[in-house]
């Protein structure tokens, strides 16, 4: 029976917790799964858009983490470390899946006339970001529109803006250049802006 009684919440708790894990303490392993599992499933579900795949990815991530515990060097928290492993596991699963037919991102990017002016000048949105962010229905609309972005762009937007990974780490995980990450992020944000603009103006973009 384990004497581990406190669920670790902070980086400072990690050392004792890690020692319990490394000693093979079954209770410590169960606590790890129970404490971090739900958050990691949410991360995997955002990337994979499928509950079953998300569960598989999280299971793979935990098993991978268990095997690599001896490599955990404490430079980040256990929570951050597990997050990175789960993102990687979800991306591997994403790569192994057949891609669905998707809209071309160019349809959602701004168009310009020959002299460089916008073909359709942008207009202001009526409400501030703060008041908009708190609207439950709009939050759902934003999530749905992120989910509808082409996978190449959606993935980068999720990793950079939602999972808050750095450009370097995103590039490393996706195996692409920093420039490619920045280009895809900008296009993803522009495409999402186009869709939200249509939502606020009450019509669908073409």
């Amino acid at each position: 029976m384990s004497d581990l009684q406190v669920t670790p919440n902070t980086h400072a708790d990690d050392a004792a917790y890690l020692a319990a894990l490394r000693s093979g303490d079954d209770t410590a392993y169960e606590l790890l799964v129970r404490q971090h599992g739900a958050r990691l499933i949410a991360v995997a579900r955002r990337l994979l858009q499928n509950d079953e795949d998300a569960r598989d990815a999280v299971q793979d991530a935990f098993l991978s983490a268990f095997k690599s515990l001896h490599q955990f060097d404490g430079q980040c928290s256990l929570s951050t470390w597990l997050h990175r492993i789960s993102v990687n596991s979800a991306l591997m699963k994403l790569r192994s899946r057949k891609r669905r037919p998707e809209q071309n991102i160019d349809d959602l990017l701004p168009q310009f006339v020959a002299d460089g002016h916008a073909a359709e000048p942008a207009t202001a949105w009526d409400q501030t970001a703060d008041s908009l962010a708190e609207q439950r229905e709009l939050r759902k609309v934003v999530r749905e529109n992120i989910e509808r972005l082409p996978e190449l762009y959606r993935t980068v937007l999720l990793l950079r803006d939602i999972e808050e990974l750095s450009t370097d780490e995103t590039a490393r995980l996706l195996g692409v250049t920093l420039t490619a990450v920045n280009t895809r992020l900008h296009r993803a944000r522009q495409a999402l802006r186009t869709r939200l603009d249509a939502h606020f103006r009450g019509h669908e973009p073409c």
Binding site: E30, R34, A38, R46, F112, A129, V142, D161, N182
Partner: protein
């Protein structure tokens, strides 16, 4: 002066402060005379903010912090194999 196309193309760099002081001046010269690009910049920033907030649980959301029991068991059983 920069064109709208150039401003929009490099907007992320400007919005995130990744421009040189000279580039910033050129952006702001354009923004001073182009309400459409100011609108685009503001709605771009709002879009980023809405995206970041959309997946964060609201204080009134139900607690979704539990892991399905069968998944906990599956992970722990797989570890012992």
């Amino acid at each position: 002066m920069l064109t709208c196309r150039e401003v929009i193309e490099f907007l992320m760099n400007y919005a995130e402060g990744n421009v040189t002081p000279e580039e910033r001046v050129r952006f702001e010269e354009h923004l001073a005379v182009c309400p459409a690009c100011v609108n685009y910049l503001n709605t771009y920033r709002t879009t980023v903010r809405l995206g970041q907030q959309a997946f964060k649980p609201l204080p009134t959301d139900a607690d979704e912090s539990s892991v399905p029991e069968d998944l906990v068991r599956a992970i722990l059983d797989a570890r012992r194999k």
